[in-house]
């Protein structure tokens, strides 16, 4: 029995109007931490950025100089020190470097992928190869070329080995992934007919995966071309990248740089068109 003085009487009417703001999301410590971190980083950036600008920096002159150089490069491209022949030769050299590394890489990667797909290989081997390849991929191609140039000296050899090295790691991953996606039924069916493993690989795996292999390998070819140009400059591997490096840093000839940039751009467009055609012809089959 509750005594009358202890009894609680409810107010007959609740106060009108919203008493709580309804949150859209629960408060999340991670979100708060992220916001604070971003704020701190923004503040640090804002106060350090002005100190990075050197005293002799003049904004107006810098902008006019920049536009002037861009104008020379893209509006007045012409050759002076190099001939068209050597330039096209250089482009060809870069293309061949990309082609060779992609070719060697894709062959090696195919066998490594077979050894690292869950469809065929034991888990220990899969994890071993995949994590090793992840380590190789984590280090950029240019760095691999420089590492190999310690052994082979700066030049084409180091470039071929270095780019191939990274291509193998990249293609192994994507090939093995597409093998993992293949439905086990196709393989099981051929097993049920008593086929041996090499036959199953050639009769089921390759027909199903050919389209995705082609497009992945082509993407790698595009990457390798870009790398070949960059490495031509960085590791003296020759090709159009080296010529680009010479005419920009050595001769300061921006007219010539413009020609080379246009040439590389044209080739990149051609590659893009080919890969588009390749992809659309593959999807048309499905």
């Amino acid at each position: 029995m509750i005594k009358p003085e202890n009894q609680v009487s409810l107010p007959t009417q609740l106060p009108a109007g919203p008493r709580f703001t309804i949150p859209l999301r629960f408060r999340d410590r991670r979100r708060v931490t992220m916001l604070i971190t971003l704020l701190i980083l923004g503040y640090v950036t804002l106060i350090t950025l002005p100190t990075m600008i050197p005293d002799h920096f003049k904004l107006v002159e810098a902008i006019t100089g920049f536009t002037e150089n861009i104008k020379i490069m893209f509006l007045q491209p012409h050759l002076s020190n190099t001939s068209w022949l050597s330039l096209l030769g250089g482009l060809g050299q870069s293309i061949l470097l990309a082609f060779l590394t992609t070719l060697i890489g894709s062959v090696l990667a195919f066998f490594l992928a077979l050894a690292s797909t869950r469809r065929f290989a034991p888990t220990a081997l899969v994890l071993g190869i995949q994590s090793f390849m992840a380590v190789i991929r984590a280090i950029p191609t240019v760095l691999w070329v420089l590492i190999y140039s310690v052994v082979f000296g700066l030049g084409a050899n180091a470039a071929v080995i270095g780019i191939t090295f990274h291509s193998v790691a990249y293609l192994t991953k994507v090939y093995a992934d597409s093998m993992d996606e293949l439905s086990p039924e196709a393989i099981e069916t051929l097993q049920a007919m008593g086929l041996k493993r090499p036959a199953i690989i050639c009769q089921a795996l390759i027909p199903y995966l050919k389209p995705s292999y082609l497009s992945w390998t082509f993407i790698r070819f595009e990457i390798n071309f870009a790398d070949a140009v960059a490495i031509g400059a960085a590791a003296g591997a020759g090709g159009i990248g080296y010529q680009l490096f010479m005419s920009s840093s050595f001769y300061f000839d921006f007219h010539e740089v413009g020609v080379m940039v246009y040439l590389i751009l044209a080739f990149a467009v051609v590659l893009e068109i080919i890969s588009y055609r390749l992809r659309s012809s593959n999807t048309a089959q499905h």
């Binding site: 196709a186 049920a192 041996k196 036959a199 199903y208």
Partner: protein, 256 residues
């Protein structure tokens, strides 16, 4: 021809999928296994060619126990057992002819398997088989462009290319329309009657079992509950096969 004795299979140690299944298949007969979903029909079929390794029992195929074979012997035995699947399981990017030719790769060398080296006689046979299943004009079509019924007929031609003594069919008509169903079932019936091949079929459709089977095996809850000529498959027998297991019976089965 094929005798299964005391086949038992459990998937995770405790839950039994099959408990003591015994039956036999005679040459030149169509044997149909019917039973509710999850009764273990597919498990039985896949145990026969050891796609599923069973736990216990004997599977005598031509007086040889499939369970005792080593890898090489098993491959050899499998190359003479045709198999037909619900989803056809063709290699879709390849042509019908190439798929049929896969049937003879089980007995050929690695090199032949890798580089598709077939004799002219084998190619002729494959073309004849495609004609037999009524797909002579589709030999050079990619399989992904064929209809379901056509794919299943390519599957049958592929099985025949193996010169099989027995063909195992796992729900061969479950994804087909009525017209294709008739074509496929007529074909299988014809193989048993005229070519003397044993045909073992998993089915859901009782009426089709009645029309085409010589011999019916009813499976319920991992056990054989009916094993007789088709004429003995009365309506009460069908009801019995598709009867739901009561919970007490099920627990008995699981524990036993």
């Amino acid at each position: 021809m094929l005798t299964v004795k005391h086949l038992a299979k459990s998937y995770n140690g405790t839950k039994k999928s099959l408990t003591d299944v015994s039956f036999s298949v005679s040459p030149g007969e169509v044997t149909v296994i019917i039973g509710p979903s999850g009764a273990g029909k597919t498990t039985i079929l896949r145990s026969i060619n050891q796609l599923i390794r069973d736990d216990d029992g004997e599977i005598l195929f031509d007086d040889v126990d499939m369970r005792q074979l080593n890898r090489r012997q098993l491959r050899d035995a499998r190359s003479h057992i045709g198999m037909i699947f619900q989803n056809y399981n063709l290699i879709e990017p390849l042509t019908a002819l190439e798929n049929v030719l896969h049937g003879c790769l089980g007995t050929k060398s690695n090199l032949a398997g890798m580089f598709s080296l077939y004799r002219n006689s084998e190619k002729t046979e494959a073309l004849q088989l495609l004609q037999k299943v009524g797909l002579g004009d589709f030999a050079y079509q990619q399989c992904r462009n064929l209809s379901g019924g056509q794919k299943q007929r390519v599957g049958i031609a592929r099985a025949l290319m193996q010169h099989p003594k027995i063909i195992l069919c796992d729900e061969p008509i479950a994804s087909l329309d009525p017209k294709s169903t008739t074509v496929v079932m007529d074909l299988l019936r014809d193989l048993a009657t005229n070519d003397g091949i044993s045909v073992l079929i998993n089915l859901h459709q009782v009426d089709i079992a009645r029309t085409y089977a010589d011999h019916v095996i009813g499976i319920n809850n991992g056990q054989v509950v009916f094993d007789d000529r088709t004429a003995a498959l009365t309506d009460t027998a069908v009801t019995d096969i598709y009867r739901k297991t009561t919970s007490s019976e099920r627990s008995l089965v699981y524990e036993g």
